[in-house]
Symmetry: C2
Subunit: 293 residues, 2 copies
């Protein structure tokens, strides 16, 4: 049981976690922290949080658990602000899409309290945002990756793991480097590819014609290009090294495919497409119960 949970950034991610813990009866009080009063008031009305504060440092006093659900770009600042106010038993975790950058910020900001910081990343979401998008079932059946480091306190890790399991998530642990590499491959690179394609087509003189004749495959392929630009700027910069590495490998492979095409080498094209189809049909499981609102 969490006596006092503080959620900094009451949006889809932090709000849904609060909803899930409340629904499970595993939290007594939830305090929301954010910059927008309207969103916080709505969060209270919707029962996502019990009360709110705009002062993160004040809010975290006496908290058992602090979840930083804010954007990646603001995490370092939040950590610095709450650090002096954190009690010795307070566990802190985050939901950021990259982990090396967050771990560096947390290590710098938290000092000896860094042992009770557990880096985390829930792999879940919808295209909606804000407290009004939150719902208790968001994490059911979805993965949450925790990336504890050498200093991480085992009890703190157990607390964070239990919290996510209460929300219905399947919790995995991996190293910071593995997380950032896997996410570069499955999320950050695909976003770069989709943004680049749509940006290129939009710049064409006949952009309207081009988009007018796009079919369902294009819509699916480019859905992630509708993601939040500031958020993705922050993610790309935060995971720069892993992203540059995999993007270089991707570019080289795409160039090889184009060379096969130049050569009229149908066998190489077909083999590559076939391996891809087999891998996707075998490995990409149907989506769990994300509610599309």
């Amino acid at each position: 049981m969490i006596s006092k949970l503080v959620v900094i950034g009451v949006g889809l991610i932090g709000g849904s976690l609060a909803c899930a813990l409340r629904k499970a009866g595993k939290v007594e009080t939830v305090v929301g922290v954010g910059r927008g009063i309207a969103n916080l008031e709505q969060a209270v009305e919707l029962g996502v949080i019990d009360s709110y504060s705009q002062d993160a440092a004040q809010a975290v006093v006496d908290a058992d658990m602090v979840v930083i659900g804010a954007t990646l770009g603001s995490t370092a600042d939040i950590l610095a602000r709450i650090a002096p106010a954190l009690g010795p038993g307070t566990v802190v975790t985050d939901v950021g899409s990259t982990k090396a950058s967050v771990v560096a910020s947390a290590r710098a900001a938290l000092g000896e309290k860094f042992a009770r910081f557990v880096p985390g990343h829930p792999i879940a979401g919808t295209e909606h945002s804000g407290a009004q998008a939150a719902f208790a079932e968001l994490y059911v059946g979805h993965r949450v990756i925790l990336t504890p480091v050498a200093e991480t306190d085992t009890d703190a890790l157990i607390c964070v793991r239990a919290m996510w399991e209460t929300a219905g998530a399947r919790v995995a642990q991996m190293s910071v480097a593995d997380h950032d590499r896997v996410l570069a491959a499955t999320s950050h690179l695909p976003h770069m590819l989709a943004f680049t394609l749509v940006d290129m087509l939009a710049a064409a003189s006949d952009a309207d014609d081009i988009f007018a004749f796009a079919a369902g495959g294009f819509r699916d392929f480019t859905r992630i290009a509708s993601s939040n630009p500031e958020m993705w700027r922050d993610i790309a910069l935060a995971n720069r090294d892993a992203l540059l590495e995999i993007c270089g490998a991707y570019n080289a492979r795409l160039e090889r495919l184009m060379q096969a095409l130049r050569d009229g080498d149908g066998a190489t094209l077909e083999l590559s497409f076939k391996r891809a189809k087999e891998a996707r049909d075998r490995c990409v499981v149907p989506q769990a119960n994300v509610r599309r609102q």
Copy 2:
């Protein structure tokens, strides 16, 4: 009214067109042609066609309209086989995803009958195939592109346009070159990008881990990598020039984005992502009524 319609290749595309015309009462007899007897018999049972033949040349005798719904790779061969048997009034059209290659084949095969060949491409589909996947509403609200050339007979063009409009499609005309360029941009390049990504990730030593943590965005982005490898080999080869050109432009743009990332130039990243998001939100309309079976 079409008195005798011959559909060569009774799959999702050709079969759904037959279903739509029958439902609208605009065709008297539909003859299916294909290599697989089981599929043809099922097509008769399902009411997609009235009868079938395995001899395309024999089947097209006395036809008003011949629709080549077979794969791109077999179109040249089919045209050569039916050419001697086509009557002077028979209109022929196709559904191929590239048009320059089909027009070249048709010009070579049909001789003076080439004037009654109308190159066409319906922009519709589902992930299913075969006669059993066919349904009358597939084309409702979807685009069909016709690419008549200088020799194309106006009456033949009008017949083909009317046929697709009867099926509920919105018919557009453009040049062969424009079609192949637009489709390279919105369909062929995205397929190459998705195939390349999944093939690369599948080759990684920790491929299972990578796919295990893929989220909904990855599933959507890579859905087209589950497409038929032989079909996409044929499309890539058939539209080689347009595809190589746009892929080169894409690679250059991706490299510029990576350079911005190397430079830590967040403003350039954000601007590119923002333009992409705005274009997609503005231009990519929600999907029309494709029935996902």
